[in-house]
Amino acid sequence: MARASFAQATWLVAEREMKTFVSSKGFWIGFLATIAGLFALTVLPTAFGGGDPKVAVVGSAVHAVQGKQLDVREVADVQAAADLVRADEVEAAVVPDGGGIKVLALNDPPNDVIRQLVAAPPVELLDPAAVDSDQRFVTVLVFGLVFLMFGMGGAAIAQSTVTEKQTRIVEILVSTVPVRALLAGKILGHVLLTLGQVLVLALAAPIALRVAGLSELLAVVVPALGWFVPFLMLGFVLISSMWAVAGALVSRQEDLGSTMGLVMLAVMGPYFGVQFFFDNPAVLAVLSFVPFTAGVAMPVRMFAQQAQPWEALVSLGLLAATVVVILLVASRLYTGSLLQTGARVKLSRAWAPAE
């Protein structure tokens, strides 16, 4: 009788992980919600945000709004215009004031109306940004959310590990295949699953942008997306191995919370870091080389055209090296803790050579 090789054992474990995960309802709900969210984020602002600002106009002030991008409603007197503003029926009222006009608004100066009424001086940008800050904000949000979602999705690895410990099938597994094959199979299975989902999202994103009529943004997003996928995948391996250790340290699902904190931090950290600092090129540049935050920060910089391709490659190399180190550490911790049942295993105990 043959013995399953390391690769075969790894693949069998990966196959089972994928099958189990894909046949769970939670997976499909989460995935479909993400796709729906992606479409909502890109299409909805265009669908609802559009339309010209509404203004009420009195008497001679009507000349001032002619030919402007405003939804004009003529009213009899200033009092009627003010009432409409108070009732929030219009954003502002344009009324005659001496020789000129005056704008009435409720609590804030109505900038989009004012912009229409004044003649803007010509602007010449010496170093035009390829992407405006709104677009950058949306990209940071989307990249961040996708990273967050898949990072947290890695918790399935921790859960699957605890299930094996809790049901004690782990004894059969460990007496059959090397522990490293178990760990490798779990990570491989979830990486492939994530890759599949990312590919679907990467295909859906351009469609969503086209539907939203943002084709020019598409040209900028696609190359950034090309960077985002490898960063996301390597980042995911990094986090997966941490999830696996978090699962191996405890023996019951109920105890999982006690070991998940650090991993959650590693997932949330990059997300919030990039959300807070995306307007600060210096901080963002640092974040884009730190392996844990590089997954989001570097693709965002590439998107904003703040970084050269060589920078992305260096960061990717750093990330890959970190992945190797973390995998080695995780593999030892996983081996050291997998068969210890009962209370939560201390990291030092998991690291210690087997008795």
Binding site: M1, R3, A4, T163
Partner: protein, 289 residues
């Protein structure tokens, strides 16, 4: 043959196994007996490499067991567990493949085992949907699906009803008849007595007795006899050289001078039965531990 020699293991300061040695011979069912906490499970986990020994060796065909040998072992851990959400047939086949059996063989073996264990109807159900007794049978199938060279089963009969015990027993006997050494632990002495060929008794981490069932009985045999006559057997008291251990009307258990007692009994009237008292495993067990 699986050979265990001088295995030691401590947990902290507590010595759980102290020089445990025994053999599991091919084609024989070896019963592994011991009170709770005597070291049965620890021994089995060491044999399977799930736990490291602090001394001693486990050999298979005369060579130390390596991780390459273990996929050929069939193991049923003390604490049961398979994937609760995985379907029965899928799960057994998967475990077979993990042990290195190709997909076709794994599927064929699975179907055969499910049939033998009367689980065919539940093949498509998730494990968690089965009763505990049926889950136990699935666990047996999981230990057997890869046609193991050795079987190590920790309490395979606990939690099974008498009919299920017979079903499982048939399956295990078939394996033993094919030359597979089978080691199984149990605290149900009656079952062990009935079905094992060899017995290993462990007590507080040491082997208290080991050998074939007959050897053990001979070794622990006493010079006791039981006689049942038609009327009161109280007269045996007067036979020179005997000692009555138990007297209950026409039935008596005594020691020494069996021929003299029998002759006297025949002279006095009808003898309904006369047998040497063979110690039960239960008695041997209580004696050695």
């Amino acid at each position: 043959m699986l050979t265990v020699r001088g295995i030691c293991r401590s947990f902290g300061d507590h010595r759980v196994l102290d020089g445990v040695s025994f053999d599991v011979r091919p084609g024989r069912m070896t019963g592994f007996l011991g009170a709770n906490g005597s070291g049965k499970t620890t021994t089995m986990r060491i044999v399977l490499g799930v736990l490291a020994a602090h001394g001693g060796s486990v050999s298979w065909h005369g060579k130390p067991v390596t991780p390459a040998d273990r996929p050929h072992f069939g193991y049923m851990p003390e604490e049961r567990g398979l994937y609760p959400k995985m379907k029965v047939r899928e799960q057994i086949t998967w475990l077979g493949r993990l042990h290195g059996v190709d997909r076709t063989t794994a599927q064929r073996n699975t179907d055969q085992l499910l049939d033998d264990l009367e689980l065919t109807e539940r093949a498509g159900d998730r494990l968690e949907q089965l009763s505990l007794g049926n889950q136990q049978r699935v666990q047996i199938a999981a230990a057997l699906v890869h046609d193991p060279d050795v079987l190590i089963l920790d309490e395979p009969f606990s939690g099974l009803d008498p009919i299920a015990v017979e079903t499982v027993l048939d399956v295990l006997r078939k394996r033993a008849a094919n030359g597979v050494p089978v080691l199984f632990s149990s605290h149900q002495l009656a079952i062990v007595e009935r079905l094992c060929d060899d017995v290993v008794i462990i007590s507080r981490g040491r082997i208290a007795a080991a050998g074939s069932r007959e050897e053990l009985r001979d070794r622990h045999a006493t010079a006791r006899y039981e006689i049942v006559v038609a009327e009161d057997a109280g007269w045996i008291r007067d036979v020179a050289g005997t000692t009555i251990l138990d007297l209950d009307g026409p039935r008596a258990v005594f020691e020494h001078e069996p021929q003299r007692v029998l002759a006297e009994a025949v002279r006095r009237g009808e003898v309904r039965s006369f047998t040497p008292v063979v110690p039960t495993l239960d008695e041997i067990f209580k004696e050695v531990i």
